[in-house]
Structure formats: structure tokens, C-alpha cells
């Protein structure tokens, strides 16, 4: 059973890799064309926009949700009242699907319905906030939705990390007269690296997989402004009937994951080797 589960991934990736070197159109074929699909991929505007977008989206989303999440966690850690209520409020968006999140924010950012329209109605007619309409800013609209959905989880994970920090540390810091904010920034933060890594990994996986949010919120538009690699692959294997091209794009999506895992594996191996050497000097 476990072999089947593992086999699906290995065999699936092997096929994807193989078909990326063929001229497959609607159905896969065995007509090998070398690196043609990759050459075409990297000269396609749509793909270049997609790659550019995932960087913008990924970096902004991860940075903002980690900073915002940590701020929330620190403030939640101040022995506040109604902590459980606030926690539920910060976390509930994560329980909802990205389709729902996308639709909600599509409406909130709709200039004829959402925030902009409301503020106009309140008399602030010069107010302008409709990122989704403009190809230049549409990607930032997606980031807002992403932050709304994912920051609460970061908060929950980091708060759990903070609560796990040894209470002696806090007493010692207080005795030394170190200001609280410095303790949080320079002492607690490095001590919760495990929680930070967890939150980071969770966000990264979410970024690479982002598909539903795009479909619900912008459909990749306006034009091709919010294309993403995941959307590109699906378009290629469905409506564009260009399987070879889609498989090349899918293989490219695997590349960053392989690099990250290779680094992670290397770090683990070195740590283990160092531990082994330390044990028998």
C-alpha cells in the first residue's frame, strides 16, 4: 500500500519529465523534440509573467504574514482578555477554501461594490483603492487576500512557540532590565526558530500551490497580469491542448522544491555527521 502511494509520485514525476521532452499536444505522444518545449516555455510571455508573479506574491505574502503573524502573536502574549475569542477571529479564514477567500476579496476590492464604493458613499470621493482592475496592481490584491487567509495560522504557530519559551528566560531578562520589545526581538525570536520554520514551510507550500485563489479572484487577469505557474500548467493541459508545454512548466515547478529539499537534506546530513563525530572524538 505504501509502495503504491510512493509509486504514484515517482512514476507520475517520471512521466511528466518524459513528456516534457515530447511534442505532445492533446494527447501524449513519443515524438521526442529535445529541449524545444523548455525553449518555447522561457520565451512565452505568459510563463515569464507567471514566474515573475509567483516571486512577487511569494515574497510579499511570506514576509507580511510572518511579520504580521509575529506581531499578533506578541500582542496576544500580553496576558490579554478574551484571548480565545481573538484567536478564533484571527484563524477562521484559514478554515475556508481559497475559492471562498478569492470571491470574498474580489467583492471587497470591486470598485463598484466594495471598499472604494463605500468610502465614496461616505463622501471621500477621491479615495481610490481597486487593485484588481489595473494589471500593474492586480497581484497586490491577491497578496491582501493571501494575508487575510494565512496570517492567523502564522500567529497560532508562533504564539505556541512563544508559550514554549522557558519562563526563566523572561525572569532573567526582567532582572537585567532589558526592555520587553528587545526580549521579543533578540531573545525570543531566535529561540522559536522551530515554530518560525514551521510557519515558513506552511506558507511556502501554499505559495507554490496557489491556484484556486487566482481562479476565483481574477481568473489570471486582467489580461495575463495575474498568471501563476500552477494556472499555466492547468491551462496548457486543458484548454490549450499543449501537453508537452504543460509538462515542461510542471517540471520547472518541481525544480525549486528539489533545491530546497536538497539544502534541507544536506543540512540534516551535516548535522548528523557532526553529531556522530562529536560522539566519538
Amino acid at each position: 500500500m505504501i509502495a503504491v502511494a510512493v509509486g504514484v509520485y515517482v512514476i507520475g514525476i517520471a512521466f511528466t519529465f518524459y513528456w516534457s521532452f515530447t511534442s505532445s499536444k492533446l494527447f501524449p505522444n513519443n515524438n521526442l523534440v529535445g529541449l524545444d518545449q523548455y525553449r518555447r516555455l522561457w520565451s512565452s510571455d505568459r510563463w515569464l509573467v507567471a514566474v515573475n508573479n509567483i516571486w512577487i506574491y511569494g515574497v510579499l505574502l511570506i514576509v507580511f504574514s510572518l511579520v504580521f503573524g509575529y506581531l499578533l502573536a506578541v500582542f496576544m502574549d500580553q496576558r490579554i482578555r478574551q484571548e480565545a475569542v481573538l484567536r478564533s477571529i484571527f484563524l477562521y479564514p484559514f478554515a475556508m477554501s481559497l475559492i471562498v477567500t478569492g470571491l470574498i476579496w474580489q467583492w471587497m476590492l470591486d470598485p463598484n461594490l466594495g471598499i472604494e464604493q463605500t468610502l465614496h458613499g461616505w463622501g471621500w470621493t477621491s479615495f481610490h483603492f481597486s487593485p484588481l482592475v489595473d494589471p500593474e496592481t492586480a497581484i497586490y490584491g491577491l497578496v491582501i487576500a493571501g494575508i487575510w487567509q494565512g496570517s492567523g495560522v502564522t500567529m497560532a504557530i508562533l504564539l505556541a512557540g512563544l508559550r514554549g519559551v522557558d519562563s526563566e528566560i523572561w525572569k532573567a531578562a526582567r532582572v537585567d532590565g532589558i526592555p520587553t520589545w528587545r526580549v521579543y526581538l533578540f531573545i525570543a525570536l531566535p529561540m522559536i526558530r522551530g515554530a518560525l520554520a514551521t510557519a515558513f514551510v506552511l506558507q511556502c507550500v501554499g505559495v507554490v500551490r496557489v491556484y484556486d485563489l487566482i481562479v476565483a479572484m481574477t481568473g489570471g487577469g486582467p489580461g495575463i497580469a495575474t498568471q501563476m505557474p500552477a494556472v499555466y500548467v492547468i491551462q496548457m493541459i486543458s484548454s490549450s491542448q499543449n501537453v508537452g508545454q504543460g509538462m515542461a512548466a510542471a517540471t520547472m515547478m518541481l525544480l525549486p522544491i528539489l533545491v530546497v529539499l536538497a539544502f534541507g537534506g544536506l543540512a540534516m546530513w551535516r548535522r548528523r555527521r557532526r553529531a556522530a563525530m562529536g560522539a566519538t572524538p
Binding site: M1, I2, A5, V8, Y9, G12, I13, F15, W19, P28, M76, R79, I80, L86, I89, F90, L91, Y92, A95, M96, S97, I99, V100, L103, I104, W105, W107, M108, L113, G114, Q117, T118, G121, V153, A156, I157, L159, A160, G161, R163, G164, S167, W170, A195, T198, V201, L202, V205, R209, D212, V215, P229, I234, I237, V243, G246, M247, L254, I257, L261
Partner: protein, 309 residues
Amino acid sequence: MSAGDMTLTDTEAEARWGTQPGGVKPRRFSPARLGIYGFLVISALFFLIPLYVMIVTSLKTMPEIRLGHLFSLPGEVTFQPWVDAWLNACTGRDCNGLHPGFLNSLKITIPSVVVSIIIASINGYALSFWRYKGANLFFGLLVFGAFVPYQVVIYPLIIAAREAGLYSTLAAIVIVHTIFGMPILTLLFRNYYASVPIELFKAGRVDGAGFWQIFFRIMVPMSVPITTVAVILQVTGIWNDFLFGVVFAGRSNWPMTVQLNNIVNTTTGVREYNVNMAATILTAAVPLAVYFISGRWFVRGIAAGAVKG
């Protein structure tokens, strides 16, 4: 960090801050406290306002929505949009509302959750207690599988489903959910069983129990907490899925998320925002209910799913 850290308690906070601090007790309404609450309340509004807007808009009539007061309470409350969303909203030519999608989501979610958890618990058990050749390799590949973007393996799966004659069936979508749930769930169960004392297992072996006997007699009764976490993780994950539903399930089995997206993002006709928002809330209702009922378990599931290995 382990998932156990999630159960934070007041006593821990007390240990940190001390019940009677040596210095001055912080005043309730110092400017700093005000700032803390200010930040938290504004953040809470950021998270809450979209939900509030959705609820009030879904209770308004279309003429009232056109007036553009997004935040105001409905002048006259109407439940017609909710009825329409459930029974009459149109996706293309079909005007049956969301309820077929709801039933489909049930038909997809229940077997997927049951099958994937049964298989994953056996896998996790086998990985942690039965050291067979290649167990480490399997484990490494599973961790890898947890990170693989779906798009990388989705097309070979489509072809495989087609070859097997399962494409666009309920069976296909259940199998696909089971496969993609396998890495995280197996890791979850393996880590849980790894914390079970090996003596229990050895005692079973001495008494002559085999693979299945130990699993059913010893492991399964101990697995209630981890199974709860796994159920929460799978129910919300599968209910919220869009990609696999649209690709594998076939038109007649489309889950709720797919139907919702079709209802809302159809380009024809007048946009009925109240119906659309009611439909959106209905789609989110099941995972939200799971979230509010399960409380802390939910966070535990997320964290456990993220800490791979």
C-alpha cells in the same frame, strides 16, 4: 516544536509573568495596554469585516445593494437570496442552486476521509514498528511527496484514470484525494506511533500477536486523538478542494466549491450579489463548523501537518 506545544495553558503564562510580580503591577489602562488592545481590535476588524459584509449583503435585496452602502445593516431582511442560492442559482443552463454540489461534496468527502485515514494509519504503523528493508527510503519519498506541487503529477494521473476507465467518476476523485492525502497523513500517524513505547509492541510480539493483531488490539484503541486530528485535516482539506474536483470528478459529481465558482463567475446575466454571497457562506459553512467545534484541535492538525518528519 511538537504539536503538544499547542495546548498552552494559563499556568504557563502565570509561570512566566508570576502571579505577584516583584515590581509594580501593570495598570489596567496604561497607554501601552491601550496600544496593545488597539492593535488587536483593528486586526480583528480586518479579519471580521469581510465576513460581516458577506452576511449583511446576503440578507439585502438587490435594489438596496445597488445603493452602495456596503456596511449598513439590511433595511428589510430577506432570506430569499439564501433560498435561491440553495435551490435556484444558475451555472450555465442548470438552475438547481448549490444543493447538488453539497451532496456531491458529501459523497466525495466521506469516503475519501475514511479510506485515506485507514490506509495512512496502517502505513504509519508499518513505518514506525516494522523495520523492513527500504523503510527509510519510503519515508524520505513520502516527505518529498508532501512538498510536490499537485500540477507536477496531475496529468499522468489523468491519463491513468482514463486508462482505467475511471475518469470523471466518484471513484477517481476519491482515489486522487486518498493519494494526495497520503504523505501528510502517513507522517502524522508515523510520528504519533513513534511516541508509543516500543515495549507495548514487544509485549504483543512476545505474546505471539502478528502484524494485524497488534494493529487492531493495541494501536487502534490508542489512536483516537491522532485520528481526530486527521479527520479534521482531511474534512476541511477535501471539502475546500477545487482543483481535483474540477479535473477528476466530472460534471455530474462537481463538488460545492466548483459549483460555487461557476455560479459566481458566470459572465452572463445580472450579478446577483446577495445570492452569490449567500452561496459563498453556504460553501464555507461545513469547514467553518468543523473549525469552531474542534477549536484547538484544528490548530494542532495544521501544525502537525506542517512539521514533516
